[in-house]
Symmetry: C2
Subunit: 164 residues, 2 copies
Amino acid sequence: MAKAFDLQTSPGHLLRRAQQYANDLYAQEAGSNGLTPRQFAVLHAVDLHEGLSQTALVRETGIDRSTLADMISRMLRKDLLARKRTDEDARANSVRITPAGRKALRAAMPAVTKSEQKILEILPARVRTEFTRGLSLIAQAAMESEMAKENGDGTKPKRGRKKR
Amino acid sequence: MAKAFDLQTSPGHLLRRAQQYANDLYAQEAGSNGLTPRQFAVLHAVDLHEGLSQTALVRETGIDRSTLADMISRMLRKDLLARKRTDEDARANSVRITPAGRKALRAAMPAVTKSEQKILEILPARVRTEFTRGLSLIAQAAMESEMAKENGDGTKPKRGRKKR
């Protein structure tokens, strides 16, 4: 049965393997004391947009709400993030990056850029831009699907894709 | 700091989001009782190549050795796989698919193909083949890097890529 299906040409399977390899290459570069790729994404997003709500952080990083909450707890304990509570700021969950967080972000940057360069160099030069653009379209569809869910839009997004 | 780096154009970040979305779409199609994408990959590989060694399964599925061992234990308990021990077959760890495993594989197939079709349909038709080919090149580099490690080749693969 199912002999026609081939893992080695399956976009889902290949996406998983490619993503794992990107993670492996990052881990090789970053060493065991560095940020995880997802911690990097969270810190980077918070650094750029201080006081981002958790909903906005979910959207920006693509990390689901409960995983993100766990990650933020750990990163608060590690002093990479701090709670941001001011009188004007009623968003109890919003966070800011600490000096230690900024330092960790800066330390991780070379490993991020180097491992991403290694991934892209696997591809023929002429297809790199188009390839990244393809990933970006899929990520955008993911975000829009996520937003539709957040907005309590019970309907499944038809194409997972809209003009924005 | 690091303002030049943009998550939304980062291949590593985009790969992670695209892969998550592929998983989400599969889960929507498969429902909560279906195989996980990785279980599907293992069953599919074992179905095609009965008696595959664990090393070959690692290579075929891209699942690391310890995760694969855990998965196989669970799948043996669920009667999706069975141990394959014959006098000729000294590979103690080799497994075969059971009728229940074959049934689960067949049941998952429509969800796999439908969710993969949804992913590809996000992309303009003219770039789909090239995109999948790009993923395949990265997956191939991953496999070769994995094989170099399995072979006790202590040197880090320089480009993660060889002609095969």
